[in-house]
């Protein structure tokens, strides 16, 4: 059985505890990075991370883009969306098609 992790600041992610997700409370990019690096070995298949935190570790997160065993999904934090998730979609469209055709 795989697990689902959530990384973010306390107010944004604590509520996911109620759904049985494994919650990591941190506001520090390096710590989040370490969690993600170990995540696959620790039996996580999905990691939700607040956009706020993801912003600091895009390089690490990008490395898992083509790994089918671990999905890193940005979610908006308590203070609302930063548009990073949408930007990522736009980026993959540009990568595949050559231009953003889904305006």
């Amino acid at each position: 059985m795989k697990k689902i992790g959530v990384i973010g600041d306390k107010d944004s992610v604590l509520c996911f505890k109620a759904a049985g997700f494994t919650v990591f409370i941190t506001e520090d990019g390096t710590e989040a990075e370490n969690i993600i690096k170990k995540a696959e070995a620790d039996g996580f298949a999905v990691i939700f991370i607040t956009e706020h935190l993801l912003k600091e570790i895009t390089d690490t997160a990008d490395r898992f883009k083509s790994n089918p065993n671990l999905s890193i999904i940005p979610i908006p934090g308590r203070n609302g969306s930063l548009g990073i998730g949408m930007a990522a979609i736009k980026k993959s469209v540009e990568k595949a098609v050559g231009a953003d055709i889904l305006k």
């Binding site: 697990k3 944004s12 604590l14 109620a18 759904a19 049985g20 883009k65 999905s71 949408m86 979609i89």
Partner: protein
């Protein structure tokens, strides 16, 4: 574009022709693959976009719901309710093959250990607002899992499309023209040799006829 030197032999020619045929077939197949991938990708990414938009909106509601709950009861009680008799979730992952790209599929189930309520905590100290917020979260779970699926799928497909496109272009603009040019060069060289041979034979024939004639005259 000048190609590297090829030996103008018939063997080389047949070899090159075979490679050209394979390259053409590969090119056609890869092109079909690219088109199909693109079709699937666009569907996926459209769903991804819509789903993400919806989730971002609902997430906002969710957070305000939890804030409300925190305002009604004390923060400590709420956190305790969420943390202590913890619910456990089980995520099963299966893999699906989309045009030879292996993508994960998730299904998630929450199991609560607390017997008295479906939410895994007692009702005694917590408020109705918290129940609402947690209910909202449960409602959102299928969408969240689906989001994870399509997001991963669109990322992986984008990767694969890029790779396939590169292969198609390499075949179309480098490999196939290269083979064609080499084949042409060999054919030209062989034809030239042939013509040289024919003229030589004609010349020899003429010389032999001349010889014969001289012998006939002498007799």
């Amino acid at each position: 574009m000048p190609q590297k030197q090829v030996t103008p032999t018939r063997m080389e020619l047949t070899r090159l022709k075979k490679r050209l045929m394979t390259a053409r077939r590969g090119h056609k197949l890869l092109k079909d693959k690219r088109d199909e991938l693109m079709k699937i990708f666009l569907d996926t990414v459209r769903e991804d976009k819509a789903l993400r938009k919806r989730i971002e909106e609902r997430m906002q509601l969710l957070h305000s719901g939890f804030n409300l709950a925190a305002a009604v009861t004390s923060r400590e009680i709420m956190e305790e309710a969420l943390v202590y008799p913890k619910s456990e979730g089980e995520l099963s992952v299966s893999y699906k093959n989309v045009m030879s790209v292996v993508v994960p599929e998730y299904s998630y189930e929450v199991k609560t250990n607390g017997g008295e309520s479906p939410y895994g905590y007692g009702f005694a100290f917590t408020s109705g607002e918290l129940d609402n917020a947690v209910g909202e979260l449960y409602d959102m779970l299928p969408d969240l899992m689906r989001l994870a699926e399509v997001e991963k799928q669109s990322q992986m497909l984008a990767d694969e499309i890029e790779k396939t496109r590169r292969r198609v272009n390499a075949l179309e603009y480098i490999m196939i023209p290269g083979f064609e040019e080499n084949i042409k060069a060999i054919i030209m060289k062989l034809d030239e040799n042939d013509r040289g041979n024919t003229t030589r034979l004609m010349k020899v024939k003429d010389m032999m006829i001349e010889e014969q004639r001289k012998q006939n005259n002498m007799r």
